[in-house]
Symmetry: C2
Subunit: 938 residues, 2 copies
Amino acid sequence: RAHRPIRPMATGARVPSLFDSLDTFTHRHVGPDDKEADKMLAALGYSSMDHFIQDAVPAHIRIDPANVSDEAIPPLSESELLLRAGLLAAQNKVHKSYIGMGYHTAVVPPVILRNVMENPAWYTQYTPYQPEISQGRLESLINYQTMVTSLTGLDISNASLLDEGTAAAEAMVMAFAAASQKKKDFFIDTAVAPQTVSVLRTRAKGFGINLIIGNASTAFTNGSHDICGILVQYPDVNGLIRDFSSVAQAAHDHGAIVVAATDLLALTLLKPPGEWGADIALGNSARFGVPAGYGGPHAAFFSVTEALKRKMPGRLIGLSKDVTGQPAYRLALQTREQHIRREKATSNICTSQALLANMAAMYAVYHGAPGLRAIATKVHFITQSYFDALTINVDDASALHQVAEHQCINLRRIDAKQVGVTVDESVTPDDLVNLINVFAIHLSKPVVTLPDILGSHVGASATISPSFAPSFARTSQFLQHPVFNTHHSETEMLRYIHHLQSKDLSLVHGMIPLGSCTMKLNSTSSMIPVTYPGFGNIHPFAPIEQAQGYQTIIKELEEDLCRITGFHSCSLQPNSGAAGEYTGLSVIRAYHESRNEPHRNICLIPISAHGTNPASAVMAGLRVVPIKSLADGSLDLVDLKDKAQKHKDNLAAFMITYPSTFGVFEDGVKEACDIIHMNGGQVYLDGANLNAQIGLTNPATCGGDVCHLNLHKTFSMPICVAEHLAPFLPGHPIVKTGGSKGIDAVSAAPFGSSSILVISWAYIKMLGGSGLSKSAHIALLNANYIAHRLKQHYSIRYKNGKGRVAHELLIDLAEFDKSAGLKVADFAKRLQPTESETLEELDRFCDAMIQIRVEVDAIIAGKQPRDNNLLKNAPHPMSVIALPEDKWKRPYDREAAVYPLPWLRERKFWPSVSRIDDAYGDLNLICECPSVEDLADS
Amino acid sequence: RAHRPIRPMATGARVPSLFDSLDTFTHRHVGPDDKEADKMLAALGYSSMDHFIQDAVPAHIRIDPANVSDEAIPPLSESELLLRAGLLAAQNKVHKSYIGMGYHTAVVPPVILRNVMENPAWYTQYTPYQPEISQGRLESLINYQTMVTSLTGLDISNASLLDEGTAAAEAMVMAFAAASQKKKDFFIDTAVAPQTVSVLRTRAKGFGINLIIGNASTAFTNGSHDICGILVQYPDVNGLIRDFSSVAQAAHDHGAIVVAATDLLALTLLKPPGEWGADIALGNSARFGVPAGYGGPHAAFFSVTEALKRKMPGRLIGLSKDVTGQPAYRLALQTREQHIRREKATSNICTSQALLANMAAMYAVYHGAPGLRAIATKVHFITQSYFDALTINVDDASALHQVAEHQCINLRRIDAKQVGVTVDESVTPDDLVNLINVFAIHLSKPVVTLPDILGSHVGASATISPSFAPSFARTSQFLQHPVFNTHHSETEMLRYIHHLQSKDLSLVHGMIPLGSCTMKLNSTSSMIPVTYPGFGNIHPFAPIEQAQGYQTIIKELEEDLCRITGFHSCSLQPNSGAAGEYTGLSVIRAYHESRNEPHRNICLIPISAHGTNPASAVMAGLRVVPIKSLADGSLDLVDLKDKAQKHKDNLAAFMITYPSTFGVFEDGVKEACDIIHMNGGQVYLDGANLNAQIGLTNPATCGGDVCHLNLHKTFSMPICVAEHLAPFLPGHPIVKTGGSKGIDAVSAAPFGSSSILVISWAYIKMLGGSGLSKSAHIALLNANYIAHRLKQHYSIRYKNGKGRVAHELLIDLAEFDKSAGLKVADFAKRLQPTESETLEELDRFCDAMIQIRVEVDAIIAGKQPRDNNLLKNAPHPMSVIALPEDKWKRPYDREAAVYPLPWLRERKFWPSVSRIDDAYGDLNLICECPSVEDLADS
Ligand SMILES: Cc1ncc(COP(=O)(O)O)c(C=O)c1O
Ligand SMILES: Cc1ncc(COP(=O)(O)O)c(C=O)c1O
Ligand SMILES: O=C([O-])O
């Protein structure tokens, strides 16, 4: 434990600000206090923060601090924020929703709500790039994949996509790619959800795909050989359970891919798509215990046949083994994942919805097949020959909706004569009575009571047979793996959750060392409102008057983000960083088109860019032209000017990450933007690193026209644009969003992952202007302090002219390959990362890095063999440390292996497996829960 | 992981009950499902549950199952319960409270709320009898003790008591005992809180102490040599900061003990009691981040001078070392704790408020001295020369209260001309404006605004000096230990909490093997409402109309408990099992008095009784006469009859635990009760084991007159009584409770630990009658199944005539002392307990026990030395397993030490220290955080 200096007791207590609540957020969120910051500045040779910032951030892009000040964004204390969030939640009217269309009122098992969704040991984890310390969440994601393949009847599932609409878009592009981009038509059945169709329209545009909408059964009747794929919905958006087997047959006869948008709950009773010929199944898994949250986030599922498996987008968890032969999970095909095929990409998907996929998987673990089937049987019983949705013809839909609203009931608005009713797990007998009485009141008939409608069914044990045609009934078993048949009591479920948790290193232990993608802890006060029912149980297509709490948050968040970025307008619809890029570029394309320059299709991108950048450009129909970097990591302005001028007539955009992914604020950013504008292009600024800019500079000042921001680092995944681009922000087919000339939807829900906008909103409101700006100052200081402490031991790859890095740094380890036979992974696996933001934590991290350097020296000096040493053998799990005497064949002792530094005796985190064999895993792709026999064999 | 049989897929889905929600609670709470129960019954040789129950529970005490049926207590689903709890919470009106009197609106730091209070890895822990796997919570409790001694300026603190009232009663009895019970007077200053005085009245009665109430400064003026102690409140109940140093001097001159009821926050600014002569300091620590919850639970603090330390009641955490010399925490003076001095007791305190003490300690860790001082300065600034409370003279208090209530403000009701105002951390400037305007409106003066009242103080950094007399100012430092000076950012705090958590075995890992006291998991749905603001932020003395949600819960809970126990009335005021015993016996005494038999003072108690039973009897002024047990563990009815007749004229009560603490349903219970009644006595039934009775029998049917129930096993700690005892249930000086001839208060709050009544209420409502009864059936089955599996390996101490145990069992290990030199602790420390209620978990537990037996055999056979073997050396922490080769001097290998059973490879829990040295700890009693130097030395 630490030694902060104990301050002498003053006789008169110092009150920082007498009426400031003691629960102000900034001093809880920002690690180093003023004294520690002063020490760090002194170590770097500065007498003040200002001097340091002058060296770190170019002067010509600095902004007036008044832009992001407490006057501009007044800080709320944690209590004030929670009070206000509670009031806003109460302004969202939680009506009983029968709107359906893929969004349901989830019944979240409380044990999962509290121990997964509300638990920082689960919600702070990010991409499991270091599988040895992520076996818990990897096991849960494998459970998810197993659940999806088992229910859809297909061979392989990924670890989730962003939503049903974008998943359908991914499927469409897979079909297009499968036919080598030669067949340009994609067929959509008329009864596919309208929001999905809208997202497909946007995506089709970039690839030049032609959408045909019609009745699926006639798609191939006149031999349409230009159709690369067909999308049907099963059951369809109106609730019909249709037999698509002959459509699938016809499609396959024509070499087209069959895509089924479907529903996991329905598949517990219905024949799964994999059994009637679908090649791809996808949909929204949120009804498995994830709140609707006004649209998201949730995990979209996506599964494919064996034949398509290596073409499937998204992250895939696989089973491999560790060097001792123990089975161990990992992110499969990681090379693909990390480099996203860049210019050749057909998908830019990067972040998946791990937390939400884990919740859905846990829900299946908790209920098991019999439980899921019982839930399905209930909703099916209510709607009878449909699965869970009915379309009802009425004389006057709008009058009926009025009656319903009066009863706090929302029905689906189809048109003037039709309303939709979708039933979910949450519906109780009383709800049903109220629902039926909406129709009774509307028709001036007598109202009914519970016994009237349920008759002998209430409370009686009954074996009911599904009331649809027997040919649709599922006969195959599902979820037979023990994991879905064991943890059905709350105590067992709790223990399973905590058991997996205990295998994972997360932010509750220390830093997650991911550079650009490093997460920080979402504060409890920003997480608490997310699970308020007033935020969780709002349907994304609920009338806007019922979502006034959300609308206030959306408005305030948009205003604050515009203030922070310096831009004019904002869209919150994209649901990942990559989706933001894609949206921003699509907006730029629409802008060029509106000026009659649709031919502008060149996108300049520095080679250092994150893999999603070129991928997004390709998806938006742009051609990527790479721009070189100079030796010091900065943009080659000469090359940029060259390429810009060369492509002058067709220049659409330039994408730049700022500060760069090499961790520097480049001096030339403004000049670069000028070059682009002079040549008719627009500048896309990847704002993933925006946390280093706030209050110091902003994308508008740097010269950008549009940017996105990333929740997992700073706020959320909105995009912000300059005024001239505002009209093109994305729209939505059901709820009005975006600009007057808006592009089609980029995600299924009008405001994207709305429920987590609450987090970003709370974060901004609690820090307030000065806190936001302070967090950027300290982010820069922390990174530079680390660089300073490590520079005698390692070479820091990139610095600016003044020797400063931005908010992250790259350490060059290449030299050790030759001198000690060590690869980057050997360092990473040995590192037990423990950084957080305080000085003490930073020092621990640096001490660990320096200790590793000592271990390296022992190898270089030949004191330890190159192939059997502390680094090569890292990590050391408990099972290895407990080896019997005769099996411990290492040239160092066990204490050296597990306690390289003294404080680890107190704070050791134990990995559960040894180094994992990636090559083995990629060769033997197993992406489902291993059977008990498999585990026994190994 | 497990292999539950995978059930064949039925073509028509079986719906247990078509409209049953799938979130019914019983199948989540009860481990074994029907198939597993059948297997277990078969293993025991029964073809049905009924046959088994016939053998386990005596026929003549069985009740009609209709008593506890779904008709009697209809079950709610988890969703329904949460809905109803939300509605009830909304019926509690959260007014801004200035009532004070020891209860404040706490500001719970969100990181503590979510990661301690709402986290099953913290809230399920119970008494740390096995310190090796409890180092986390022990460290936190040591932090608590350090905080208390540091703030009160005294030498040693216990790990908490139940509330301020009962803590004051403990102090009084200590003073009485210190003078060898010879001095009968105890002096109470007039300005002590009335609820404390009421609790003292009750307690004084049992010991025959005479209470004198008057102005403390005149207590000793006429040489009162009969005063054993004096209680003052500092600051006093009216907010005055009084100088008690000369009172203390006078008291000491007269050989009396000085007790100060005080306030931890005030002590950050005021001279601590230890510095002006108090011998004992006590009070409520809840304002350190624990919600008021309509009265509790919260931790009362209690600290004493060095001279009194071995007389201090309650649990005490001490620092010792483990066998390797590492520092390690433990429950100190455990022998005393577990046996509670029985007939010689002066205190019956057993359960402490560990969770709430941990929250208060974490609050101090998070804020540190500067933070606490800043909070104190704020409340002090508002009330100026008082600390945080004012008493204001008004013309018409009741009119003023009306105005206040209209503004949703509660003031303290003192009398017709005086009102009280107490200010706490939660008060914002806006609150202050509203408060002042209550007076303005009342006086028809113009209302004020924020700038009016704060003037230049708002937002300004200021160093203000306390405005009380300098002689009262604290000059000594406090909370200087690093633990209070390190974890001040949310990220650091989170990591500290999780770091401690990782050292503790809790219900999230497996069973807590405590026999009679075994906890089961409180379900998430019963915990969720506890932290709703509508339950948390209600002052216990708020007008009853504002607490209608609570009142409904209290009424429903009382009704259900009466139904379950078969009794007539109920009091929820006692706040522990022991307090329930004491209350019940006090009620019995009051009953005898009302019949003009005050001389009845003999209490018969079987020698097998839990230590709290005789202690409670002594405290209630009864003389304990022990009753023998027979060899089979049952009550010696001959001895009982003998003693009952012998003491016929003075017989007050008989206390019996049922099923007994030996784990059997004794046949003779009814006969025993008859014997007592025939001899004029009343029967107290200790209902700690009531979970084995529900729906099968009940205390009334067994022949009891009063019983208590224990939350940590079944419900809560209420007592239920037969009709003739109802008039004597305890009252309260501020809020009307209890019977027409009620005894004085037994705890400071009218309804005891009200906020956790919500847990008991939710538990009963969700299980419903049939679920409650089922849980009793399965508890019996589980215990008998374990007995069956272990009987070939161990001898089971007590069984009934049919060979059956009740809900728990005692294993006799005495034989191994001789045969292998092993003590009970050697078994317990080797056991990595993993029981829960499912068959699979029970089997794992039994397998572990049987494996231990194998290890014992190796010692008996001489294959392992008696002093250096797996059992003697258990537990094996990581630091021991990682010893270098030359230091591993054990006659077994490391794998045998850590993986005695194969499934432990997957589910290992690592203790953080080796076997702890109790003798060393008791000799060297260190009950504060060890200094950094101490830790470095060891
Ligand atoms: C610089 C940069 N741009 C874009 C992204 C893509 O964001 P996402 O994973 O949310 O799609 C990342 C990844 O976090 C990134 O680091
Ligand atoms: C049989 C019995 N009676 C009484 C008690 C005392 O209860 P408490 O610890 O709540 O005071 C216990 C302990 O749990 C017990 O096991
Ligand atoms: O708490 C007891 O174990 O008595």
